[in-house]
Subunit: 398 residues, 2 copies
């Protein structure tokens, strides 16, 4: 982390990724309380922020255990002292060497994920060949249709567990599920129902394994919508939400958070007016904002992000990011007239700045290499936080 003398927002070069640490801390505290209320551990997913500073806030008062989604994140967080890492993407043998190097270099513990006997067999063989050992979770599909075995597929569950047990290089840690389809559910009742299916499926799979004599320490669930909405988590040992740290328009559009809970935004500068196309040009395009429009599934008229005043999250009514080119964003206004366009040009003079709230915080934050950290609606940056990006671990041969 680089601590700065306070820098005015007006002095930042744009596009810049702003993070409101007041909101971030509030979001982290609320989720920690939810986990405590349910009596489960919180193992936050750091794929959203890829930041050690965020990880410290998200694990405050907790074990420091985290969830990650890339080798680059495993490497980055291990280097920053986070040594209990669940790598929550199905393992392939080609990643074993790099993970072993990271475990050795930092005395870290990486827990793997798999849902196929073949994947376990290949990873275990590679681990044996280089003298590596890992814990492994069996992925359970509780309705997302992505990775995982069905919770009641006893044959598959036991076959994977047996393969782990006989591997000599892997140890069974338990089961993991991710109700990703909760992102597409409409209404909190529907999400509550998915949370219960997620819980019950994970617990059912754990029960089948235990009944067959396997030790299951970890029963892991989690996605931000289900973590926020779950009514009970009996039988679960940990939750792994991620985007709650920052929240975004996608979560706000389905009622999981309010606009005021969004901690992440992109600061952009007005670089032109085009009276013929009635567009204001800004220097944040498809890379700086991402082209993700996920909130559009539940809320119309958001364009590619919610345009706010530069010093906070007050939306500028009647404006939307209508078009994105690589490094240009084009803002349009409601009302198809020269008068409306002129009012927009007057409100956003060339050289002025806006803050744009993202549809999907994970996608927007990913390509940046740092956060400019602000507190509340203050107009100055008090810290710069580094972050991981890309896919490659820094180690040899990566």
């Amino acid at each position: 982390m680089t601590q700065l003398a306070h820098t005015a927002l007006g002095e930042l070069t744009t596009p810049a990724l702003l993070l409101d640490s007041t909101v971030l801390e509030r979001n982290c505290e609320a989720m920690a309380q939810r986990a405590a209320h349910h009596g489960v551990a919180l193992r936050p997913h750091l794929k959203t922020s890829k930041s050690a500073e965020v990880a410290r806030l998200a694990t405050r008062g907790h074990s420091g255990a985290i969830t990650v989604s890339t080798l680059a994140e495993v490497d980055y967080f291990a280097r920053h002292g986070f040594l209990d890492l669940t790598y929550a993407v199905g393992i392939s043998a080609g990643k074993i060497d790099a993970l072993h190097r990271i475990q050795l270099a930092h005395a870290a513990r990486v827990t793997l994920l798999a849902d196929r006997v073949e994947a376990v067999r290949a990873a275990a063989a590679r681990a044996r060949a280089i003298g590596a050992t890992f814990r492994l979770l069996i992925e359970v599909d509780t309705g997302g249709g992505r990775g995982g075995v069905a919770p009641d597929d006893e044959e598959a569950l036991l076959a994977i567990a047996a393969e782990v047990q006989r591997s000599g290089s892997l140890t069974l840690a338990g089961v993991l599920t991710h109700a990703g389809h909760s992102y597409h559910a409409e209404g909190l009742d529907a999400i509550r129902a998915i949370a219960e299916t997620e819980r019950a499926g994970a617990v059912q799979a754990a029960g089948r394994l235990r009944a067959a004599g396997f030790t299951v320490d970890t029963v892991s669930v989690g996605a931000t919508p289900t973590a926020v909405c779950a009514e009970r988590l009996d039988g679960v040992t940990e939750m792994r939400p991620g985007v709650y740290t920052f929240f975004d328009l996608d979560q706000a559009a389905r009622g999981i958070c309010e606009i005021e809970d969004i901690a992440l935004s992109v600061l952009a500068t007005v670089i032109g007016h085009n009276p013929r196309s009635r567009r204001v040009l800004i220097d944040a395009g498809g890379l700086a904002l991402s082209k993700d429009e996920s909130a559009a599934e539940f809320r119309d008229g958001l364009g590619f992000g919610l345009i706010c005043k530069a010093d906070g999250t007050t939306p500028l009514a009647g404006l939307r990011v209508a078009e994105l080119h690589q490094e240009h964003g084009l803002i349009a206004c409601d009302g198809d007239s020269d008068g409306a366009a002129q009012a927009m040009f007057d409100a956003l003079p060339v050289g002025s700045r806006v803050r744009i709230l993202p549809h999907h915080a994970c996608m927007t934050a990913a390509p940046y290499d740092r956060y400019h950290v602000v507190r509340g609606t203050g107009a100055s940056v008090y810290a710069v936080w580094g972050k991981a990006h890309g896919w490659h671990a820094a180690g040899p041969g990566a």
Copy 2:
């Protein structure tokens, strides 16, 4: 650049960004010949690759002059010896200090872009305050509706030129236009017409400035579709295409290139099979592939990229990347049956690899920090090329 002993594709950790240098060199050579045929300079846009190695190939036999779109690119390319840089995004005063530092550190020459008197005035004032000087191009809108003054808007053109002339810190270099709307034109005839409008508009704007006594050295046009299709470029001095270096599905879908001309691909590993949702899981998701679907405007059924065998560009018929999560891609097959799904699982066993051709090479390449370079359909990587990414210059205060 890191030169490697030849590494087998099978040993790369995935997702990895592959670049076929045989195709890249052919694409560069073809565009150099087009520029020579028209008697114009080629100032390639490096926003696509952000790579010094690619820039060397794209400027082979030429001046070394390039076009870029971010401060990070200006900084990166100046550090790699590319000293004549057009920063082709409307300038704002907040970027002047960083550009000045880069000019001084490397004896580089950065040419700016503007289309509003206010933008010129603010940039010029900041430049004067710190003793900086820059060349500046006036942006002309020849139909794209993004930046630029209308080619026949003599009042605006002359006002900007006069503001530049009286600035004391800026020098008028000429005019620049980008026919970005050629990306959305259907058919080569339509693109040819846009190329002629682009040419004529730039030449017209230059003529109005010259008639008023201003010196106009540079008349710059360029987008890959118009650069490929232009029938004549009389009066133009340079072209600035970019994506032609890599090409992509978006260009292929409108007939600007063939699939075989696509030099960029993403190597991914099969990490799971889900027989219930009939999906193959790969470790390349919305970040590794980008969610860009631009080719869908002209060609159906591509999903989020064209799935090919790992060793080349032979498409695997009947498969598509149907869904993207942050670090997961989900491949579906034609035919809604368990038998079709089983055939897909047999063709793509867990641990096997695929190569995916991107819709939009600029969006896909951007977040990576390196290219793994291959030659033709060979199964080994012979070099790793670094690249710029993100938005921040490496210099102080960036």
